[in-house]
Symmetry: C2
Subunit: 136 residues, 2 copies
Amino acid sequence: MPTIKRIDHIAILVDDLDGTLDFWRDALGLPLAHTEENPAEQAKIAFLPAGDSEIELVKPTTDDSGLARYLEKRGPGMHHICLEVDDLEGMLAQLKEKGIQLINEEPRLGSGGKKYAFIHPKSAHGVMVELYELPG
Amino acid sequence: MPTIKRIDHIAILVDDLDGTLDFWRDALGLPLAHTEENPAEQAKIAFLPAGDSEIELVKPTTDDSGLARYLEKRGPGMHHICLEVDDLEGMLAQLKEKGIQLINEEPRLGSGGKKYAFIHPKSAHGVMVELYELPG
């Protein structure tokens, strides 16, 4: 059976990356591991490890992406939670069997060889859930 | 220096605990560790461990609590993120020094002897952040 291993990250949508780092890095003291541009998401992302998980601060870099529209509509705040799973294809099959609506029916390939897929918030009662399978 | 150790939990506000467990427990396969009534929060809470953290599903049990009003206004979804800190009083002092607005200026005492405090979402750029110090 495919198994959730841990919370990989919490993604927080921000309109000002430096201003938000004032809180997470400078006030709370979380380390800033790195930042990267993500052209696919049209966003700049700051990664701050917390124990076995990460806080990701996501700043849209264009005005017309899905993230930018979400930010404009709902304002800055938590955007999604990402869970690591040991077998993403198996999990997606299990979810479909249970009638869960997926944004990505098949795993997509992200940076560093990780596989990911999003579950539709409708099926997760208002929460955007991402699943990761990390390369072994 | 007070240090964030990990993400303790993500709290998700729900309007139907059983319906939401259909997703988190029955479809994703997360274990349901236990549920408890929390009279202070006027909520029933389901705890689902994920690695070193937990997903908490929070269902208001009255219509007029802060949680119930938040649910009515924003709908079901992520409510707050809780970080474990090794020294809560030290962290609150550090946050005040940095000009961060706190909901709880002093640690409050929760179940099992844990100390907790909430940071105001204004200072955390739209995110409700809770801090825990667990009994040693």
